[in-house]
């Protein structure tokens, strides 16, 4: 996520937030890892990595947005998910090492717009 996207949450310090979410705050932070988090942020981190901005691998390692999203969600800051999802669709399409996300949503769109799906693999 580019820096421009963090408008409105400048108060977020990712390292401090990560340390406030870990089970053992005395441990030094070598890298952001979902396995060290408390229950709620850990569940949110996995939901983000698997469903909201899904990626093909490294679901345990937290990227910057994996900390920004839980921070916003836990602090009741509304996120424009439509914009996030659309950007993620374009990004996944552009980058060759990304997989195609939101297969359920796209399939629902295809049915919603009555595209002929006879004999299509599903």
């Amino acid at each position: 996520m580019s820096k421009g996207h963090t408008t409105g949450i400048q108060e977020l310090n990712t390292i401090q937030f990560y340390q406030s979410c870990v089970r053992n705050p005395t441990e030094p932070v070598n890298r952001f890892n979902a396995g060290n988090l408390n229950l709620t942020p850990r569940i949110l981190a996995y939901i983000i990595a698997w469903q909201l901005t899904p990626r093909g691998s490294n679901h345990v390692v937290l990227h910057e947005e994996d900390l920004i999203f839980p921070y916003c969600i836990m602090n009741i800051i509304k996120i424009n998910w439509v914009s996030i999802v659309m950007e993620h669709m374009l990004k996944s399409n552009r980058l060759t090492d990304y997989r195609f996300p939101y297969a359920i949503f796209v399939s629902k769109l295809i049915d919603y717009l009555e595209v002929d799906t006879t004999n299509e693999r599903n």
Binding site: M86, I110, V115
Partner: protein, 142 residues
Amino acid sequence: MASSPHKKRRSREQHNNNQGILERWFAGDVEAMTTFMHDMSIKQINVPKVLEFSWLKSGNLAEPRVVLKHQRLKHFLKITRNVYPDLVKVFYTNLTQDGRKLVSHVKGVKITVTTEVWKKCCWDQILKTESEQRTHDWNPGT
């Protein structure tokens, strides 16, 4: 070793069949078919995942349930249905951005992804009314 005439015929039929399928998917758009064959067909689809909110409830995980509901993500996260992996790839092959909309074509049908489509199709509760938003919004990229 030279291949048998049967194999050659079968291979030619398979090729013609694949070409026919591609032409149907892309409505004869040669450029899109070439992109699909060289770049997109090898990319994989993310395995769709579904969150069972009943599991959060039964596990006494009230906090994640409440915060996710507040983001109006419940419907999007629990949605489940059959997927069309080939047509999903066709959709992404033709995907372009038009201002704040995403536009694609599948089998010659134009698919425009707008906020309204989201609301109707998948995210029916995310943007109910602006007045319902209790705290300040964070709109990335706007």
